[in-house]
Symmetry: C2
Subunit: 149 residues, 2 copies
């Protein structure tokens, strides 16, 4: 099992790729972000930036999360959730057919003073498409259990 | 139609409620955030904070977005998407059965210098449950078309 004790400033990882499908793009957009440029090819073609049907930025976050959770489960990382996010930048559109790879770097690891059985790790992320372009950056904090003593 | 020209610092709105269902919670968690405390009642009961099966924080963002998009479409607000988010804080768990209401306040409205046909509005949001508790806060920037001249 991997605990907070095993995480260190400067740690890096690369996860993925995860594949974006048109079916999932439309399903997510219908439920959570039914803006025309996420649902309709003609509306997307008329948009000043998107040009083609692109996925919701929130779905991009969902794909990043899925890669993180698959990694946590593969390595038995003792995650307790997250208190929040300090920055998200949606830099380029993500399109159905894209394959996304998530790079992370750990910036700070801190044991909780009031609850030493847990602590937080702050990480920065770069999500890249199959052409190596950064489509999203993110700064996030995760809570993790410390190793039982 | 509502353009950036119609948005002003200090504008406030209240949207919702939107209702969280167990079926949608499990569907989202399976696809994007399959951590045990979002999928399994017993794992959630054992978690130090959640106590009951709670939804993914990313799904909470999705519900907030859905309220915003429904409002944009009801009022023909000329949204062009978003460059990013400056802060998300997941303050309390959100449970299936909750009804969430989104409060917003506009903090800054700015026309683009390089592309005066559009501009940005920065807003702060508080998402509350049916007991009035803040479950999430967010600072987000949206891009909107300016009124054609």
């Amino acid at each position: 099992m991997i605990y907070l004790d095993d995480m260190h400033e400067g740690d890096t990882s690369v996860l993925g790729p995860i594949h974006v499908t048109r079916e999932e793009a439309l399903d997510f957009a219908r439920k959570y972000d039914p803006q025309p440029f996420h649902l309709d090819d003609a509306a997307a073609a008329a948009h000043p930036f998107f040009k083609k049907l692109s996925i919701s930025g929130w779905q991009t976050c969902g794909y990043a999360m899925r890669l993180m959770v698959d990694e946590m489960q593969a390595r038995a990382i003792q995650s307790l959730g997250s208190p929040g996010i300090d920055s998200i930048r949606w830099l380029k559109p993500v399109y159905p057919g894209d394959a996304l790879t998530l790079e992370s770097e750990t910036r700070e690891v801190r044991v909780s003073r009031s609850r030493p059985e847990m602590g937080s790790a702050r990480r920065t992320y770069v999500f890249r498409n199959q052409d190596g372009e950064a489509v999203m950056t993110m700064e996030a904090t995760g809570l993790f259990a410390t190793r039982p003593r």
